[in-house]
Amino acid sequence: MTWLVPLPVIMPLLGAAVTLLLRRRPVLQRAVSVLVLSATLVVAVLLLASTATGAPLTVAVGGWAAPLGIVLVADRLAALMLVVSAAVTLCVLVYSIGQGMADGDDAVPVAVYHPAYLILTAGVTNAFLAGDLFNLYVGFEILLAASYVLITIGATRSRIRTGTTYVVVSLLSSLIFLTAIGLIYAATGTLNLAQLAGRLDALPDSLQLGLQSMLLLAFGIKAAVFPLSAWLPDSYPTAIAPVTAVFAGLLTKVGVYAIIRTQTLLFPDGPAGGVLLVAALLTMIVGILGAVAQSDIKRLLSFTLVSHIGYMLFGIGLASSAGLSGAIFYVVHHIVVQTTLFLAAGLIERRGGTTTLDRLGGLARLAPVLGVLFFVPALNLAGIPPFSGFLGKLGLLQAGVDAGGTLAWVLVAGSVVTSLLTLYAIGRVWNLAFWRTPHASMPADGGARAGRALPRMMVGATLALVVLGTGLTVVSGPLFDLTSRAATELRERQPYVHAVFGEVP
């Protein structure tokens, strides 16, 4: 089974090369992209099936053995993230193809879109599978380089303005990460995560704290943790809808994944747990207050994205098995739901011609399907039972109560307040955009462009994600099982280390 491990990275990269060659054949180009991402999804599912009950799978790239060579490691957490990310990227790809066909850009396709999208996928999967810090950095750079292209696609005035912020902030975080890598290498003489797990423990506490804070700083920017989150609500909303959706769903979660990985494997008893909890609280509260103040759906959703990163940090900061398990469950849920909401926002923009709440209205009557597509994931995000958002929050709250202590209780209270405020913010969108009587400026049955019927492919892709998000509730029992086993595996550390060095435990 180990030969499967590098495929999620290799296939999208090869696919990117092929789609670049096929830039004058849009139909073939789309077919190749869909095929590659479907194959990636299949491989990811196989990997998950293999690791769910067994040991982590590893591959030494190029045949160089573990500490010196590059290893790719697929453990339960990585495999689970691969499955979710592959499913989401596939749905968003179908959505963007539908959008492209509806807009009639067959004649002049943006040739670079498909290659960049596939490279983005390769970067994400590489980051999930990376077995050493430098490869993690390379994974980040691959996905960031592709994301720079995607966020500024078309190079309009507003995209250049927001793209500048995004690129400069991302570059800064990459430089901080690289500095941390240099210092860690200088201190321990290795970058292999499994080997670092043993060597970092031997370092003095103050040095450990320094290295840990540098890594947290770098990943915190990527994951949009308050106070390092200011770039996100400004840069995401201006990109085209599918790009915003996939960024919102995946890119910040890669940062969260990196935090989980380094916190559990490198600094299991690190002193920064309390800091993480405070950051989690501030991220939740500040993010959701920002969302309440917005009048544009995409900006509002970007703020809820920041806010809900706090939930994941909450679980990580608790550093208990239950907390980690809740955090992983929440990551899975949030990737699906946040992507769906941004896709739905893209449909709203198509139907209503704008995403500004001041000018929308009556969408529930004009486009009932759209109403369902927005309403279900919105309730899911706000954590209404029986949706997976509720279950994820319940798991985190339970872990917080179990942990005890003042800070944990404050966070439990903060989570509940954030959840209510999310419901308020989402309810406001629903009331203004869907429920009230249509605005005079709304295209009632068809303006030049905005009132066009919603393309079936776009609705279908969004619907698939809505079903996936709702389906998480159905499979929540086995999923919670899986996440708690992943959390146990992370906490034990030994399965990972043994798998990398090929020892039999």
């Binding site: 010196l68 430098f134 390379v138 750079e141 380089a145 720079y148 292209v149 500024t152 190079a155 005035r157 250049i160 303005r161 927001t162 793209g163 500048t164 912020t165 690129v167 400069v168 570059l171 800064l172 990459s174 430089l175 690289l178 500095t179 890598i181 240099g182 210092l183 290498y185 200088a186 201190a187 200011a230 609500p233 400004d234 900006r299 000018r359 005079a440 400026s441």
Partner: protein, 144 residues
């Protein structure tokens, strides 16, 4: 292995200059800052490895070999920084084509809050209120 003092000082200077330039409004200077920071980080990584002769078996005895891993990492980092710098330069050029300058601009929220603050001040002084508010009213109120 003892750290080379000259290299340490150079790393410090590059970091300081890079951060200073990064705080500028002008995108071209930001790019220069990122280049400097990138070079500083590369030297920092170099400092972390063992110092010595070329790490080729038969050329240098094993204890005197330099660390090839740091150099491999720096090579990768240089390539990445080069790509990013090229992209940023393209963005600066595009920004100059579109707006005639390459300054990094305030985000939407900042500008909205600034306008609101100006308007509040304007209420006390009606002359400025008229001139300051007219474009905004026509923009927001137009389609209603």
């Amino acid at each position: 292995m003892s750290p080379n003092l000259v290299l340490v000082v150079v790393v410090g200077v590059l970091f300081a200059a890079g951060v200073t330039l990064l705080l500028e409004r002008n995108l071209t200077r930001v790019i220069l800052g990122i280049t400097m920071l990138g070079n500083g980080v590369n030297l920092l990584i170099l400092l972390g490895g063992a110092y010595g002769g070329p790490p080729i078996v038969g050329v240098t005895p094993e204890p005197k070999m330099g660390d090839p891993l740091t150099q491999a990492m720096i090579l990768t980092a240089i390539v990445i920084t080069l790509g990013m710098t090229a992209f940023l330069l393209a963005m600066a050029y595009r920004s100059w084509l579109l707006t005639g300058h390459d300054n990094v601009q305030d985000d939407v929220e900042d500008r909205r809050i600034m306008r609101r603050a100006e308007r509040d001040e304007g209420l006390e002084d009606e002359d400025t209120a008229d001139t300051a508010d007219t474009p905004e009213l026509s923009r927001d109120g137009g389609p209603r």
